[in-house]
């Protein structure tokens, strides 16, 4: 517990941690500025104008529906003469040209909706927190190795596995704390923006639950990244090993290998990239379209098909990487000569 207390103090006293937190806050701030510049709270004149445009559009929609129904009833022998052509299966003129679907909001300038857009903003936060956790996780042990801090600590606490576990535990706790703090700031800022320049929307318990689950998944991804960064930096005995590996992976694999895999026409290439699983984890599932290898339907038509990665698959992939890197890091740390 003493080690955890000391490491907790060390984590938040480190300049790298503070700079990284400022960087994350800075990026979130820039996004907030961008959102603020593109939203406008509608005034009565704008609303009235939008209502008028919507009313006109509804009238036009009704006219279109009537024309469509007339044409469908007459069933033209030449489809090329038809204005509306063959309707998609399961659709009717009434379902396609539905005046109830025309909303005044569609004729207003973009209005930020806390209810509708916070989910996406939480995913942005999740991505940033993941990068933050990976970098500070790597630095938390890597800088200790290169500055001699690990040796100093071992002189006080020679039980190696317990020491490394304490450091890792402190890191995860600190990232969680920092993440919750950043999340609170981010959600409060989005809410404030919605109040001042947008609209809140209907916040039901379901919406809140959905936001909470997205935040929890973002936190989970960040903790996994922190643990992986920590493990890799501990194995390499410096921060650069982990950061180099991450940058190398991003450039060589996510970009370079993606090109090669696509050229080789590998089936479902997205399943080989961690970014696909990150997306699946944050969105609960990620859907991809396979167009290189078609499937034949009953009419003999060859067409592409959709396939998905779900969050359980993502959990298995990230969980396996976390477990594997941590076991290796602990095993090596236990046996290694500290020279």
């Amino acid at each position: 517990m003493r080690v955890v207390r000391a490491e907790w103090a060390r984590f938040f006293a480190r300049r790298f941690t503070r700079i990284m937190m400022l960087v994350v806050l800075g990026i979130l701030g820039l996004i907030m500025v961008g959102l603020g510049a593109n939203t406008q709270k509608p005034n009565p004149a704008v609303i009235a104008q939008a209502e008028e445009q919507a009313a006109r559009a509804r009238t036009e929609t009704v006219e279109m529906r009537q024309q469509c129904e007339t044409e469908q009833a007459n069933a033209p022998s030449d489809p090329n003469q038809s204005r509306f052509g063959q309707l998609p299966p399961g659709e009717t003129c009434a379902s396609i040209f539905n005046p109830a679907q025309v909303r005044a909001e569609d004729f207003m300038p973009h209005v930020f909706s806390f209810r509708d857009e916070t989910q996406d903003m939480l995913k942005v936060y999740g991505g940033l927190l993941t990068l933050f956790a990976f970098a500070v996780g790597a630095s938390f042990i890597g800088a200790e190795w290169s500055s001699g801090g690990v040796m100093n600590l071992l002189l006080w606490r020679p039980r190696r596995l317990r020491l490394l576990a304490s450091k890792l535990g402190t890191l995860l706790l600190a990232v969680t704390t920092a993440g919750i703090g950043l999340l609170a700031v981010w959600v409060a800022a989005l809410y404030g923006l919605a109040m001042l320049r947008g609209r809140i929307g209907d916040i039901t318990p379901g919406v809140v639950q959905s936001m909470a689950l997205t935040s929890a998944r973002a936190m989970g991804l960040a903790l996994a990244a922190g643990a992986i960064g920590f493990a890799v930096a501990s194995l390499g005995r410096n921060t650069a090993t982990a950061l180099g590996l991450a940058v190398g992976y991003a450039i060589v694999f996510e970009i370079g290998a993606r090109i090669v895999i696509e050229l080789a026409e590998v089936i479902k290439p997205e399943r080989w990239f961690l970014s696909s699983y990150a997306r699946a984890w944050l969105d609960q599932k990620a859907t991809f379209y396979e167009w290189r290898h078609c499937r034949y339907d009953t009419t003999g038509t060859c067409s592409g098909y959709e396939w998905t990665l779900n969050m359980n698959q993502a959990a298995i992939v990230f969980g396996s990487i976390v477990v594997l890197t941590l076991i290796t890091a602990f095993w090596v740390f236990r046996r290694r000569d500290v020279t």
Binding site: R2, R10, N152, L155, P158, T339
Partner: protein, 325 residues
């Protein structure tokens, strides 16, 4: 006397990914008794730091027994770590932390009361600079901070690897006084240093290591005395003729530019009389008592030779077990 530190037959070989394995310790023995300042000497690459790192659990030995404060190592290390303060090689700290914060973090991890931080800062002379970042410290100040970190625990055994490295002359003197004071207060100090006149001044006993084996050990005076050849420096007007006269009596004589040195001379009065009988009057007759430096160079075979550039691994290899003075 109670043995505070015991090492028997310690072996450590560093395995390299490419190339041959390099033995660093080859059956090394060491004994340090309670309340002593014990010098641990050896040429570069002789295995001193490996020994200290092995004792402190930083390096895994291949064989051998170690005991500190009555506990078998490495298994008993967690029990004694709180009672052993150490600095190993050059001090390394996080540059962006202040000296005080550095000590505070260690004190928190070790459960040391806060007031001890102020005490050790005062003791090592960093009281007024404790609020500055470590990266602004000179090497000597970092060294002082390292000593302060080792003293934080109020240790019973203090292991210091080159503590005077980077210190100014006054700092070296202060370090010497501090070590002596700690030993007088019952702390056992193991001091690894290349400043041999300092070691001779403050150490009660020494162990000399070469190529991973002990070449000498015991009280400083005994180690030096064991190498005493009974040499005397003699100056007379015609020193070449005088050297010839003394050599005829069977003693070993080495003639230099303006004097000669006679070895194994049991009775200096005899030499005086012998030369006087030949109407030669002795201007100087001085015993050449070896100091620790000359003993060290002799025992380790590292005395500089003109025209020869000695390499780090060129030092004496003794039979396993080493010599005991």
């Amino acid at each position: 006397m109670v043995a505070v530190l015991e090492i028997q037959g310690l072996r450590k070989t560093y395995r390299r990914r490419w190339g041959a394995a390099r033995p660093a310790l080859d059956g090394f023995d060491m004994l340090v008794e309670s309340g002593q300042v014990h010098g641990f000497l050896g040429p570069n690459g002789s295995g001193k730091t490996t020994t200290l790192r092995t004792l402190l659990g930083l390096v895994r030995p291949n064989a051998g027994r170690m005991r500190i404060l009555g506990h078998e190592l490495p298994d008993g290390l967690p029990k004694v770590a709180r009672r052993v303060g150490a600095i190993v090689e050059s001090p390394q700290f996080f540059g962006n932390f202040t000296g005080r914060r550095t000590l505070k973090l260690l004190a928190t991890a070790g459960g040391v009361p806060r007031k001890r931080i102020t005490e050790v800062l005062e003791l090592v002379g960093l009281r007024d600079r404790a609020g500055e970042r470590v990266k602004t410290y000179s090497l000597g100040m970092k060294q002082r901070l390292a000593v302060a970190s080792a003293l934080l625990k109020s240790p019973e055994l203090l292991i210091l690897d080159e503590p005077a490295n980077g210190l100014d002359p006054a700092g070296i003197r202060e370090m010497r006084d501090m070590m002596r004071g700690l030993a007088d207060g019952g702390v056992t100090v193991v001091l690894s240093s290349h400043i041999l006149n300092e070691v001779q001044l403050i150490c009660d006993s020494v162990t000399i290591i070469s190529r991973g084996r002990r070449v000498a050990a015991g009280p400083v005076s005994q180690v030096i005395a064991a190498q005493d050849q009974g040499e005397w420096r003699v100056r007379v007007a015609d020193h070449q003729r005088a050297a010839g006269i003394i050599a005829k009596s069977g003693l070993e004589v080495a003639v230099h530019d303006d004097h000669f040195v006679v070895s194994k001379l049991a009775d200096p009065a005899w030499l005086s009389r012998e030369l006087a009988a030949n109407e030669m009057w002795v201007a100087e007759l001085t015993p050449l008592t070896p100091d620790l430096e000359s003993v060290f160079l002799e025992l380790t075979g590292t005395a500089p030779e003109q025209g020869h550039h000695r390499q780090v691994d060129e030092s004496v290899v003794v039979g396993a077990g080493g010599g005991q003075a």
